[in-house]
């Protein structure tokens, strides 16, 4: 099942949201518009390059992902609309290709580096990356999936 989940998630989310399988889904807080489809993969709002007609700086034929997201956020339930303004943390690039559904259940998608919460560790940790406690190995997409 763990192996099937990412496949299933991608099959469901790709056609509707053009899901990029970042493994840390924020769709509900971004107006159900995937920020990873922004050519700059911005997760905290639009860049300064949005065109006068609301289209993307990089892809003039496409409406800016964040212009869409902002519009749609107002149509969402109130607590999701509020979450639109949250400061979303940097992407954990290790989760690319894993199932955000699994990561949501395990809480893996909400773990951020200690410095993101403003905590300074006193000494060097002997183990690289040890400041992030691993709960579970993220479920990885089967090889060749993206071929």
């Amino acid at each position: 099942m763990a192996k099937l989940l990412p496949l299933l998630e991608h099959a469901v989310k790709k056609p509707v949201w053009d899901c990029r399988m970042c493994g840390q889904c924020v769709l509900h807080s971004t107006g159900m518009t995937c920020p990873m489809t922004c050519p700059k993969t911005l997760r905290n709002g639009p860049c300064g390059g949005v065109r006068e007609d609301g289209h993307c700086e990089v892809k003039p034929e496409m409406r800016c992902v964040w212009v869409k997201a902002e519009e749609r956020s107002h149509a969402l339930p109130h607590h999701w609309e509020e979450e639109f303004h949250d400061l979303r943390p940097p992407v954990d690039n290790r989760l690319q290709g894993t199932s955000s559904w699994t990561n949501l259940l395990t809480g893996r998608d909400r773990r951020t580096p200690a410095g993101w919460q403003g905590v300074a560790r006193e000494r060097h940790s002997a183990v690289p990356g040890a400041s992030m406690v691993e709960v579970d190995e993220p479920a990885t997409l089967p090889e060749g999936f993206h071929a």
Binding site: P39, K40, T41, L42, R43, N44, G45, P46, C47, G48, G49, V50, R51, E52, D53, G54, E57, V58, C64, W66, V67, E70, E71, H85, L87, R88, P89, P90, V91, N93, P113, A114, G115, W116, G118, V119, A120, R121, E122, R123, H124, S125, S131
Partner: protein
């Protein structure tokens, strides 16, 4: 903390910032010459980071060079070219040489430059970078690893009050200010009413309680320059009647003069807004108009009664 932050905190006069020209060759003398030209008229100058996605002498090298020649740098860091490790290393590295002002930007896309084949990085976005840079000043890297005797950074960002979604721009400014931005340099814009609405929104939302707003004006001398910005610079749109006004001014000299008038008007308007802490000047003319502008506006170090009295400037 930096002189720029002291000036802003004091609030006795509007601060003047400008853009350092891109340097490629010519060695340090080229940096010195440009620094000498700007020093009398401005409080701090942006060391750009591959502007418009064109490679030039790096942000860190120019910022350090400026500091050595007695011109206060604002080091821009764009998210396009480097990952989180490299950006933190650049900020910490430059701080060893006294670079304290850091402006965090998303960056124009690689397709705007002359090497559109390049890989985009965008490992962090600009708001995340603001928070990470603020963390460095608090004494830790993003990982949480402690920095002993951390640098006293003055962290800022940019915002574009003129690009859609217009209503959302104030909230984005608020987000950046909550992430730690203490100043926001604003994009070039030719819609005074949009600037006004944005600044008012920022005052109402409390942004200006912690964060200085610095609108940008640009010195140009032809209608062609305006059309170019309108068509080719991401995030800049110029109303047709503004371009027509400059184009219809008469001969070349009259057009140059009308361009200057336009910039002077926009500057006066920006500085008249409650909540604005200064102005950022971009100079595409290089004909002494920058000096003329600060004189006409009566701002900058040359017009600082305190600094002039204490002999702090040669202005």
């Amino acid at each position: 903390m930096s002189r720029l932050s002291d000036l802003i905190a004091a609030g006795t006069r509007p601060v003047v910032t400008a853009e350092f020209p891109s340097i490629d060759g010519g060695g340090l003398p080229a940096v010195e010459r440009a620094a000498d030209e700007l020093r009398p008229y401005v409080d701090a100058v942006n060391a750009t980071d591959n502007p418009a996605a064109h490679a030039h002498a790096s942000n860190t090298s120019i910022a350090i060079g400026m500091a050595q020649f007695g011109l206060e740098p604002i080091m821009q860091v764009v998210c396009r070219d480097k990952n989180r490790l490299a950006m933190q290393a650049d900020i910490i590295g430059a701080s060893l040489f006294g670079v304290e002002n850091v402006a965090c930007l998303t960056g124009d896309d690689v397709t705007a430059g002359d090497e559109p084949e390049a890989r985009r990085v965008f490992d962090l976005d600009s708001t995340q970078l603001v928070k990470v840079a603020s963390g460095l000043a608090e004494g830790h890297y993003l990982s949480g690893r402690a920095i002993k005797q951390p640098p006293a950074l003055f962290v800022g960002a940019v915002e574009n009050p003129f690009a859609p979604p217009l209503d959302y721009r104030v909230l984005r400014a608020l987000k950046k200010s909550e992430a730690g931005a203490r100043f926001l340099q604003l994009q070039i814009g030719y819609y005074p009413e949009r600037l006004e609405a944005f600044v008012r929104g920022c005052v109402d939302a409390g942004v200006t309680r912690t964060t200085a707003l610095i609108p940008t004006v640009v010195l140009t001398k032809s209608a062609k320059a305006l059309s170019f910005m309108d068509e080719s610079v991401p995030g800049i749109s110029i109303p047709a009647d503004v371009i027509a006004r400059v184009a219809g001014a008469g001969d070349k000299d009259a057009i140059a003069e009308e361009s200057y008038r336009l910039t002077l008007e926009l500057s006066r308007h920006a500085l008249s807004l409650t909540g604005v802490s200064g102005i950022h000047l971009t100079d595409f003319r290089h004909d002494g108009s920058l000096e003329r502008l600060v004189r006409d506006l009566g701002i900058g170090p040359a017009f600082d009664p305190v600094a002039t009295a204490s002999g702090a400037t040669s202005g």
